[in-house]
C-alpha cells in the first residue's frame, strides 16, 4: 500500500519486573483496516494504550506522518487525531447520550451556556448512522450493546486519522456488528486508518486488510490477510517456548478414578447453560475460554454466588443444596475470586483476621467469643505452610506484596479444610516466584485429595498446571482436552470457535461471511 500513517518502533514497556512489551514494531498504513491479534496478555491492550496516550513507553518511538511524537495524555492523543474505542465502556451513566458523545468538545468549549438543541441535533446525526437510539436518553438506561454503540459514536465524532477498536463486537448482536462493519468500511474509504483488535477470526478475515500478531509482548509477524488462513494466525499466536516450570503432572492412570465433585446441567438462563463438570480425586481441572465467555459466571453459579435456574452440584456423589455461598462453604466448596482486592480480601484488616473469616464458627466458643489465640495459631500455621512473607500476623494485608496477598487469600480458603476449591485466576498479577510456589501448592493440595478447579486466561498456566482442560465458549462447554491432546492451539480453536471443533454459536461462521 502507501506510506504508513503511524509507526511504532522498538517500543518496550515494563510494569515493575514484568515486561509487557519488548521491542514491538507496528506500522499502520493510510486507509487500511489492520487487525491486531494475540492471546490474553500478549500485549495488545498495552500497545493500544500507549498509542492512545494512557500509558507511556519506556523505550522506543511513535512516528505519526513521518514525525516523532510524544503522546503524553489521552487528550494529546485526541488532538493528534488518534481515537480509541475502549473495550470497557467508559461513559457517564447519568448524562444523556448526546452529552456523552460530545463530552470532549463540551469540556473544550468556551461559551458559558450549553446549546442543547444543537448538541442533540448533531449527536443524533452521528448516532443514527449506527442505530436508532434517542440521544436524549440517559446512557445508564440503555442496554450494554447500545452503550457500546454510543462509545463507538463518541469516537466517530472525534476528527480522527486513526481509530482503534478494542474488541468492539464483544457486546454487540450480529445485526449491530454488521452495521459497525459497514461503518468501518466507510471510514476506510474516507482515508481513515483502523486498528481492529479481536479474538474472532471470522471477523478479522471478513473485515481486515492486514494482520499483526503479538505473543508474550513481542512482535511476531505482519501479513496480508489474503495470504493467510485462520489456522495460520492461531498458530502464530501460540507458538511459544515454555518458559516456566510447572510441577509434574500425575497421569490419570496413577490416580484413583473416584469422582469427588460433579456439576450436572448447570444454567442460569442468561450467561451459561448445560454445564457438566466431573472432577476426579487428585486431579487439577482447568477451565479455559476467552474473557467474557462465562467462566467466572459458571464458577459463581456453582458456589451460590450467582442465582442458577437449572442443574445439580454433587460432592462425593451426594447432591448439595447450595442457595447461598454460606451453604457452599458448609458443604466444603470454596471459591477464590479473580478480583483479589475487590472481593477477595479485607485489605485494611490484619492477616489473621483475613485467614479466619471463613472459619469463624470453628473459632467461636460457647459465649459467642472468638478464640483469638486459636485465630493467631491458625494464621501462623498457614503463614508457615504457605511461606507467606510478612511482618506479623497482626499487620494489615495491604502491607503485603501481591503474591503474598494471594497466599493469604488461599490460606483463607484452606482454613476450613475444603473438599473442592474453585480458583479464578489464581496467579493473576503476581510475580514469577510466587506464581510457581502457588502452582506447587495446588499440586500438593490435589495430591492430598482436595479437588482443584483452576480458571485461567493464561494458556501456559492452564496447560502446564492442569491434568485436563474444559473450554467454555459463550456460556457453554465447547470441548474438553485430556493430557495427551492438550495444546494451546486446540484450546484457542475451541475458545474462539475456529476450525473443525463444533462451530456452534460463533457469530460469524463461514456461511455468513460475505
Amino acid at each position: 500500500m502507501r506510506e504508513p500513517v503511524l509507526s511504532i518502533r522498538n517500543v518496550t514497556k515494563h510494569f515493575g519486573a514484568v515486561k509487557a512489551l519488548t521491542n514491538v514494531n507496528f506500522a499502520l498504513e493510510r486507509g487500511e483496516v489492520h487487525a491486531l491479534c494475540g492471546e490474553n496478555g500478549a500485549g495488545k491492550s498495552t500497545l493500544m494504550n500507549i498509542i492512545a496516550g494512557v500509558l507511556q513507553p519506556d523505550e522506543g518511538e511513535i512516528v505519526l506522518d513521518g514525525k516523532t511524537v510524544r503522546i503524553g495524555s489521552p487528550a494529546a492523543a485526541q488532538s493528534l487525531g488518534l481515537g480509541l474505542v475502549h473495550q470497557e465502556i467508559a461513559l457517564c451513566p447519568d448524562a444523556s447520550v448526546a452529552e456523552n458523545i460530545f463530552m470532549a468538545s463540551i469540556s473544550r468549549q468556551r461559551s458559558l451556556l450549553m446549546n442543547y438543541r444543537k448538541l442533540e441535533r448533531e449527536a443524533q446525526a452521528v448516532m443514527s448512522r449506527l442505530a436508532p437510539i434517542d440521544v436524549r436518553r440517559k446512557v445508564g438506561e440503555l442496554p450494554i450493546s447500545s452503550q457500546q454503540l454510543v462509545e463507538i459514536a463518541k469516537a466517530l465524532t472525534l476528527d480522527c486519522r486513526v481509530l482503534i477498536f478494542d474488541e468492539p463486537t464483544a457486546a454487540l448482536t450480529e445485526a449491530e456488528a454488521r452495521i459497525l462493519f459497514e461503518i468501518i468500511r466507510d471510514l476506510k474509504a474516507n482515508g481513515i486508518s483502523i486498528v481492529y483488535i479481536s479474538h474472532r477470526m471470522a471477523e478479522i478475515f471478513e473485515l481486515c486488510d492486514r494482520v499483526t500478531v503479538l505473543r508474550d509482548g513481542r512482535y511476531v509477524s505482519t501479513d496480508r490477510v489474503a495470504d493467510l488462513t485462520p489456522d495460520d494466525v492461531v498458530r502464530r499466536m501460540v507458538g511459544r517456548e515454555i518458559t516456566q516450570l510447572y510441577p509434574p503432572k500425575q497421569p490419570a492412570g496413577e490416580r484413583p478414578q473416584e469422582v469427588v465433585f460433579s456439576v450436572r446441567g448447570l444454567g442460569d438462563n442468561e450467561r451459561f447453560r448445560d454445564v457438566d463438570i466431573d472432577l476426579t480425586r487428585g486431579e487439577i481441572l482447568g477451565i479455559g475460554g476467552l474473557i467474557g465467555s462465562g467462566r467466572t459466571e459458571i464458577a459463581e453459579g456453582i458456589c451460590g454466588l450467582r442465582a442458577t435456574t437449572n442443574g445439580q452440584i454433587l460432592i462425593h456423589g451426594k447432591q448439595q443444596a447450595i442457595g447461598t455461598y454460606a451453604d457452599a462453604v458448609k458443604a466444603g466448596l470454596v471459591y477464590l475470586s479473580e478480583d483479589r482486592k475487590g472481593s477477595g480480601l479485607f485489605l485494611d484488616l490484619s492477616i489473621a483476621k483475613n485467614i479466619s473469616v471463613l472459619n469463624l464458627d470453628a473459632l467461636t466458643g460457647h459465649l459467642g467469643l472468638i478464640d483469638t489465640v486459636g485465630e493467631g495459631d491458625l494464621a501462623r500455621d498457614f503463614a508457615q505452610r504457605l511461606n507467606i512473607r510478612m511482618g506479623s500476623i497482626g499487620a494489615p494485608v495491604s502491607s503485603l506484596s501481591g503474591g503474598n496477598q494471594q497466599k493469604v487469600a488461599i490460606a483463607k480458603q484452606l482454613a476450613i479444610q475444603p473438599k473442592v476449591i474453585l480458583m479464578d485466576e489464581p496467579t493473576r498479577g503476581i510475580d514469577v516466584g510466587a506464581k510457581s510456589e502457588i502452582h506447587a501448592l495446588l499440586r500438593e493440595l490435589a495430591q492430598s485429595g482436595i479437588g482443584i478447579i483452576v480458571i485461567s486466561s493464561e494458556l501456559p498456566e492452564l496447560l502446564g498446571l492442569c491434568d485436563r482442560v474444559i473450554v467454555i465458549r459463550e456460556g457453554e462447554v465447547a470441548g474438553e482436552l485430556g493430557m495427551d491432546d492438550m495444546t494451546e492451539e486446540r484450546v484457542i480453536r475451541l475458545a474462539s470457535g475456529v476450525g473443525n471443533c463444533q462451530i456452534g454459536r460463533t457469530r460469524l461462521t463461514s456461511e455468513h461471511a460475505a
Binding site: F346, K353, V357, G391, S392
Partner: protein, 329 residues
C-alpha cells in the same frame, strides 16, 4: 504489579494494633496537655466537682457514641440519634404520666427506639437506601413524633419516684450511677467488639462488603442489627436523661448527632467503614468535653464553642487523611 517488586520493601512490621493504640495514646496526650494548661489558667478546672461535671456531661452521650461507633465501623451512619434520644424520653415520660410505672414506661421507650432502628434497618437493607438518607429522614420524622406526643410542650415529671430518679441523679459510694452505667456499657462493648464473633462480622462488612459477602457473611443481617443496636442505645440514653432531668422536652438532643459523630471520628472511626474503636471514640468525646469545659471556665462566649469544636473535628480528620495516604496501598 508495581507493588510486587516493591513488595519485599513494603513489608514493614507496623502492626494494626499499634496504629490504633498510637491514635489513642495521642488523644490521651492531648487531653492531658489541655488539662495541665487549664489547671494553670483556671483554679476551678482541677477540682473534683469540675471533673465530675465533665464526666456526667459526656457519660450519657457516651452510651450513644458506642452505638454510633459500631455503626460507623460497618460503614453506616445515624443522624437520627438525637431525635431517638428525645423520643425515648418523651414517650416514656408521657406513658408515666398516663399512669404506667416508670420502669415499664422506660422499657417501652427503649423497645420503641429499637423498633425505629428496625424500620431504618429495613430501608437500608431491604429497600436498599443508604444510611445517610434513611437516618436523615428518620431524624426529621422522629422529631416530629416527639412533638406529636408532647403537643410541643415540655413534660414535667417531678412525680417520678425517688428510686427511678436515683438512676440519673443518685450515686453509689460517691460514684454516680450514670457513670457506672457508662463505664459498664463502654467496657462490655469494647470487649465484645474485640472478641465477639458477631461483632467481628461488623469489621468484615465495613472493610469490604463484597469480600464479606464472598466469605459467606450475610452482610445485610449485620447492617440491620447494627442499625437497631445504635437506635436502642440512643433509647437507653434517652431514658437515663429523663431520670436525670426529671423532665422531658420535645426539643431535647437537637444537634446531638453531630457531636457524637464528631467524637467517634476524632477517636479514629472511618466514615468509609472498617475501622474504629470504642475507647478511641470515648476519648474523642472526652476531648470535646474538656474543650467545652475549658471554654466555659475561660469565660469564652458560648457562641464560640461550636466553631472551635468544628475546627478540632476538621483537624482530626485532616491528620487522619494524611496518615492514611502514607499507608501502603
Amino acid at each position: 504489579m508495581l507493588a510486587d517488586t516493591l513488595g519485599t520493601k513494603a513489608v514493614r512490621p507496623r502492626s494494626w494494633k499499634r496504629i490504633g493504640s498510637m491514635r489513642e495514646a495521642g488523644l490521651i496526650a492531648i487531653i492531658l496537655a489541655l488539662c495541665v494548661a487549664m489547671s494553670f489558667a483556671s483554679p476551678h478546672f482541677l477540682t473534683l466537682g469540675n471533673f465530675r461535671a465533665m464526666l456526667m456531661s459526656f457519660s450519657v452521650e457516651g452510651v450513644v457514641v458506642v452505638g454510633m461507633t459500631i455503626l460507623l465501623i460497618v460503614g453506616g451512619i445515624d443522624l437520627s440519634v438525637g431525635s431517638v434520644v428525645c423520643f425515648a424520653m418523651v414517650l416514656s415520660g408521657s406513658l408515666f404520666l398516663a399512669g404506667l410505672d416508670p420502669w415499664s414506661a422506660s422499657l417501652t421507650g427503649i423497645l420503641a427506639s429499637a423498633l425505629i432502628g428496625c424500620v431504618m434497618g429495613f430501608f437500608v437493607t431491604v429497600v436498599g437506601l443508604n444510611h445517610f438518607i434513611t437516618s436523615l429522614a428518620g431524624m426529621v420524622i422522629v422529631r416530629g413524633l416527639c412533638l406529636i406526643i408532647t403537643k410541643g410542650t415540655p413534660l414535667s415529671l417531678f412525680t417520678l419516684p425517688p428510686a427511678f430518679k436515683a438512676v440519673g441523679q443518685g450515686s453509689f459510694h460517691g460514684v454516680p450511677y450514670v457513670i457506672i452505667i457508662f463505664v459498664a456499657v463502654v467496657g462490655i462493648f469494647d470487649f465484645l467488639l474485640r472478641r465477639a464473633t458477631a461483632l467481628r462480622k461488623v469489621f468484615y462488612t465495613g472493610s469490604n462488603e463484597k469480600a464479606a459477602l464472598y466469605s459467606g457473611i450475610r452482610t445485610n443481617h449485620v447492617k440491620f442489627w447494627v442499625t437497631v443496636l445504635c437506635s436502642t442505645l440512643a433509647g437507653v440514653a434517652g431514658v437515663i436523661y429523663m431520670s436525670r432531668f426529671g423532665a422531658a422536652t420535645p426539643t431535647f438532643g437537637v444537634g446531638m448527632e453531630l457531636n457524637i459523630i464528631a467524637a467517634a471520628v476524632i477517636g479514629g472511626a472511618s466514615l468509609n467503614g472498617g475501622s474504629g474503636t470504642i475507647l478511641g471514640a470515648i476519648l474523642g468525646m472526652a476531648l470535646l468535653s474538656v474543650v467545652t469545659s475549658s471554654l466555659v471556665l475561660l469565660n469564652v462566649s458560648v457562641y464560640w464553642q461550636d466553631m472551635i469544636k468544628g475546627c478540632i473535628l476538621l483537624a482530626a480528620v485532616s491528620v487522619d487523611h494524611f496518615l492514611n495516604k502514607r499507608k501502603p496501598s
